[in-house]
């Protein structure tokens, strides 16, 4: 994978860091001149992935969330969100729309659906007891002068 630029950061699984993660990813991606809609899509997908790590990965516990954001050739954005939490026993089921294990927190079960809709590619690797890694890619449009 040819990488034109990259940031990596790590943060504790505190819910107040959801907005911090969005802000950090946004400020990095701005160099690729995304449209307002593309930036909004990426911010939303990142928010969903980080929230999943906090709410589901580290449910009732705490740990660290590692993010990698890369700018790839041909205006492609690569984002990886990794936690070392409880993992997902059945990834396919977890990705079904409206499936949630936290209804009491009013989780809508749409996190993965949002990531899939707003990004071009989504990959979820998980192992029970070891954690989950979500990888997303999105190609930015060629626009303006």
């Amino acid at each position: 994978m040819e990488i034109l630029n990259e940031i990596r950061f790590s943060m504790p699984s505190l819910s107040q860091n959801e907005s911090a993660a969005r802000a950090a990813v946004s400020s990095f991606i701005v160099q690729a001149d995304p449209t307002v809609e593309e930036l909004s899509d990426i911010r939303t997908a990142v928010s969903e992935a980080v929230t999943n790590a906090i709410v589901h990965g580290y449910r009732g516990t705490s740990g660290r969330i590692d993010l990698v954001v890369r700018l790839l050739p041909e205006r492609e954005i690569y984002i990886r969100v990794k936690d070392c939490g409880c993992g997902i026993a059945d990834v396919k089921k977890a990705m079904e729309p409206l499936f949630t294990t936290a209804p009491e927190e009013e989780r809508s079960g749409l996190g993965f659906s949002v990531m899939e809709s707003f990004m071009d590619k989504l990959s979820v690797r998980s192992e029970v007891g070891r954690g989950t890694t979500v990888t997303m890619r999105k190609k930015l449009s060629v626009h303006g002068g």
């Binding site: 819910s15 107040q16 959801e18 907005s19 969005r22 307002v36 809609e37 909004s40 911010r43 939303t44 928010s47 969903e48 929230t51 906090i54 709410v55 927190e105 009013e106 989780r107 809508s108 749409l110 996190g111 659906s113 949002v114 809709s117």
Partner: protein, 101 residues
Amino acid sequence: MNIDIRSEKGMAIAVLKGEIDHHSAKKAREQLDCFIINMQPDVLAMDMSAITFMDSSGIGLIMGRQKLMKECGGRLEVRSPQESIRRVLRLAGIERIVRIT
């Protein structure tokens, strides 16, 4: 996010400002539920014109308030969401359950 609620003759408008995510939705939920339970409005309109970001946590926030309003004999409306917010609402199909203007 902050919420300013005005109420007159059974019609309440909650003006939401800022970003809705899992972190901010919790406080919003508590504030709105407290108002609904105490004031029992016929209609609660969530004015989302000043919401600059919303992920699927906002869907849970809206659906939960819709459920509570219904239990209290009223109804919920969503007003003036920006286009980026509308896209999340459309993805959830929320317009089938809550009136969006």
